[in-house]
Symmetry: C2
Subunit: 76 residues, 2 copies
Amino acid sequence: MPHSRTVRCNCISISKHVNPKFIETLEIIPASQSCSRVEIIATMKNNGEKRCLNLESKAIKNLLTAVRKLRSKRSV
Amino acid sequence: MPHSRTVRCNCISISKHVNPKFIETLEIIPASQSCSRVEIIATMKNNGEKRCLNLESKAIKNLLTAVRKLRSKRSV
């Protein structure tokens, strides 16, 4: 997953069917001027590989709803 | 005999009253052998500063519920 400025989004491809048991950390990157979509990047436990999760997954949509609610607050 | 455990949490102090408008990315690090608590680290837009969010905040609890649901799935 290159992070160069020529690539506007971090995610080039989306991994479908990621087993959450093997997810170490989750990074949520909001939509911005450089990338028009939210990106959710999972770092995998076994090999540190970074995978971009599928925003169409129900569990991810649920997570994004919680993030939106958080962002709508004045303070967290 | 249990192994002696080194506590290696990323967060030393928790920032209360972080304005979500200034949060760039959110990183969610689950509890593990090296750190017994979940950690949520926000990278701030203006200066790239990393701040550890308060797990007692209602919006964060809501977010963690969504993460737990995600982790309970077979696939995301």
